[in-house]
Symmetry: C2
Subunit: 136 residues, 2 copies
């Protein structure tokens, strides 16, 4: 019975294995960064995707709020420290080849700097569907 | 009443704006790639994160299945073409600064090459939580 695991220890209907940061070869890219998908727990909404370096990942794991590396400002960034829209970390998941993270959070407020709940508020469609007379 | 939009045109509880590929300045990185979060429609499970170049994005928008750029093989990759676990594209979302995608799909089969439903089957924890006697 693979579905008897407690909800906290399953994802996508399968049991989740716990691995320690020190025992995991997390693969940061040549800039020292790893993409982090921030997902609202419960609803599954993808709120944003941002980048972490090793220090921000460690802070995220130990402080219970999300920390990222701002590529534009070249500094650590504690999400919501200014706006008040902090994200409470529920769980950090790492993928099969350890080069991407999913951060499950509880984010009561908006996650996007535009004020939207999610940064993904636009649907991208093939040109012909919306610009039939554009004469591409 | 912001919640009267049809489900197909909302995400994270907000109305989704449709934008055409040709009218959107999608920002590929210096390798010509953009990260794509693949999410199961309905459940919200993040199945995988992979990379798209401009051609794979266009193919994903026009063929109705997911196409990625394999960084290791340096070639286009139609997900599931070999394994049979194709992903049917429901919607492509682009974020506020147009440098990340969410691909909503219907993926009946596993998405991970390990056979897992999702590539995110491991929880990453701070060292002290799982290795209390490791003497770090």
């Amino acid at each position: 019975m693979s579905q008897t695991a407690a909800p906290d220890y399953s994802y996508a209907g399968e049991k989740v294995e716990r691995v320690a940061l020190a025992a995991t070869d997390v693969r940061f890219d040549d800039r020292g960064l790893i993409p982090a998908v921030v997902q609202q727990v419960g609803t599954g909404e993808v709120l944003m995707v941002a980048w972490m370096n090793e220090e921000s990942l460690r802070l995220t794991l130990t402080t219970g709020t999300t920390w990222f590396w701002s590529r534009s400002r070249q500094e650590l960034w504690n999400k919501g420290a200014t706006s008040g829209n902090m994200q409470k970390v529920v769980r950090v998941l790492v993928d099969c080849d350890a080069d991407t993270l999913v951060i499950e959070v509880d984010s009561p407020g908006p996650a996007c700097h535009t004020g939207h709940r999610s940064c993904f508020f636009r649907e991208l469609v093939a040109d012909e569907n919306t610009t039939p007379s554009a004469g591409v």
